[in-house]
C-alpha cells in the first residue's frame, strides 16, 4: 500500500548511536481537506461500535465462563505454570475488555485479581476465598447487570475486593520493594 522504496534512509552516526531517518512513508495517506469537510471517522466508528453492543453481554458471559473454567482447573490441580497463566490471561482479558462491553465493575474486579496473581510471592499461600470471591463477583456482576439497581452495588463490591486484595498484597510484599512500588503506583488508565 503506502510504501516507500528502500534506499531512502539517511543514517547519521555518533559516538554511541546512529540516527536513522527516512521520508515519511505514510505521508501520502494524509489528505489536505477544506475546513468545511464534515467527515467524522471517529463518530462513524463509535456508531459502529454501538452497533455491536447487542453482542456484548454474550461476549462478557463467554469471558466470565472462561475465567471460571480456569479457576476450576486451579482448584482441582493447584497452581502450575500453565494454570496460573490461563487464570491470569482470562482475568487480564476481562480487565481490558469489560469496560468496552459495558461492565466496568467486572473489569475493576478482574484487575484486582490480576494484581494478586502477579504480585503474590507464593500463590499457594493466597487465601483460596480471596480468589474465589473475585471470580464469584465477576460472575455476579455479569449475570445481574440488567437489573438497574445493581450498578452501584457492583461498583461497591469491586472496590471492596480491591481494598482487601491490596491489604493482602501490601502485607505479603513488605520486604519486596519492587513489588510494593508496582502495587502502589497509580494506573495510567483513569479509575472507573
Amino acid at each position: 500500500m503506502a510504501k516507500e522504496k528502500p534506499g531512502t534512509l539517511q543514517i547519521k552516526s555518533f559516538a554511541d548511536h546512529h540516527v536513522i531517518t527516512q521520508p515519511n512513508p505514510l505521508r501520502k495517506v494524509l489528505l489536505r481537506v477544506p475546513e468545511s469537510d464534515l467527515d467524522d471517522p471517529v463518530g462513524r466508528a463509535e456508531k459502529a461500535l454501538a452497533g455491536l453492543s447487542g453482542e456484548f453481554k454474550s461476549w462478557m458471559t463467554i469471558e466470565a465462563d472462561r475465567l471460571s473454567a480456569a479457576h476450576a482447573v486451579v482448584l482441582r490441580d493447584g497452581f502450575t505454570i500453565d494454570n496460573r497463566e490461563e487464570l491470569f490471561r482470562a482475568a487480564h482479558d476481562i480487565k481490558g475488555d469489560a469496560a468496552t462491553f459495558g461492565f466496568p465493575s467486572a473489569g475493576a474486579a478482574a484487575e484486582s485479581l490480576c494484581r494478586i496473581i502477579e504480585h503474590a510471592p507464593d500463590l499457594h499461600l493466597v487465601p483460596a476465598e480471596l480468589i474465589t470471591h473475585h471470580i464469584n463477583a465477576i460472575q455476579a456482576i455479569v449475570r445481574e447487570r440488567t437489573k438497574l439497581d445493581t450498578a452501584v452495588m457492583a461498583s461497591k463490591l469491586s472496590k471492596q475486593l480491591r481494598g482487601v486484595a491490596d491489604e493482602f498484597l501490601l502485607k505479603v510484599n513488605r520486604d519486596r520493594p519492587e513489588h510494593l512500588e508496582a502495587i502502589l503506583a497509580p494506573s495510567i488508565v483513569p479509575a472507573e
Binding site: 503506502a2 540516527v19 461500535l49 487480564h92 494506573s187
Partner: protein
C-alpha cells in the same frame, strides 16, 4: 486541515481474543480501512507481517507462547529482510507505567491501554502517520526514538553522546492533523 486516507493503509492486528479482534476490525473498517489482516498469536502475526507487509501493526501484549512484546522485538531486527520500521501500536490491558517503559524499550511506537475507544485508536494512528519519529540504533536498542521531549539537563547513564543531533525537530503535520478530530 488534514485527514487520513485509511483505504490506502494496510493493517495487521494481532490479538488472541476474538472479541477484541472483532472490535478492532469494526473500528478500522469504520475509519475507512479496507485491508485489515488478523492473527491470533505472535508467530502467525510475524508470518503475516512478512507476507502482507502491513503499514501499521496493532498488537496485544499478553498472548500465549509468543507475545506482543516478542513480536515487536522480532520486527525490530535492523538486519532482517523484512521492514523493521513499521509503526507498532501496542493495545493492551496492562495499565502500569513500568509496562509502558518495557514496551517502549522493545521498539513499540505507540502504547494504547484498554479499554479501547475509537478516539484513542484514531489518535495513535494519526500520531504514527503524521509524526513519525527517527529510528535510533545503539548496541542494545533499535527502534523509534524513545525521547518525546528534549531534556538537555539529563545526565543519567543512558545519555547519548553526540552533540547537535540530540535535539531532533519533529514535523508539525501532527498538530495540523489533530485539528481534524
Amino acid at each position: 486541515m488534514y485527514r487520513i486516507d485509511f483505504n490506502k493503509l494496510r493493517f495487521l492486528i494481532c490479538d488472541d481474543n476474538p472479541h477484541m479482534r472483532r472490535i478492532l476490525r469494526t473500528l478500522l473498517h469504520s475509519f475507512g480501512a479496507r485491508e485489515v489482516y488478523e492473527a491470533e498469536d505472535g508467530a502467525t502475526a510475524l508470518e503475516m507481517y512478512s507476507h502482507y507487509v502491513p503499514d501499521i501493526v496493532i498488537t496485544d501484549w499478553a498472548m500465549p507462547i509468543f507475545d506482543g512484546l516478542e513480536l515487536a522485538q522480532m520486527i525490530r531486527q535492523p538486519e532482517s529482510k523484512g521492514n523493521p520500521y513499521a509503526p507498532i501500536i501496542m493495545l493492551t490491558g496492562h495499565s502500569e507505567k513500568r509496562r509502558v517503559t518495557v514496551a517502549r524499550d522493545a521498539g513499540v511506537t505507540e502504547f494504547l491501554a484498554k479499554p479501547i475507544s475509537a478516539k484513542g485508536l484514531y489518535q495513535r494512528i494519526l500520531n504514527v502517520v503524521a509524526s513519525p519519529r527517527p529510528f535510533i540504533k545503539t548496541k542494545t536498542y533499535f527502534g523509534p526514538d524513545r525521547r518525546r521531549n528534549t531534556n538537555n539537563a539529563y545526565i543519567g547513564p543512558e545519555r547519548r553522546v553526540g552533540g547537535e543531533m540530540e535535539v531532533m525537530q519533529q514535523p508539525s503535520l501532527l498538530d495540523k492533523a489533530r485539528s481534524n478530530i
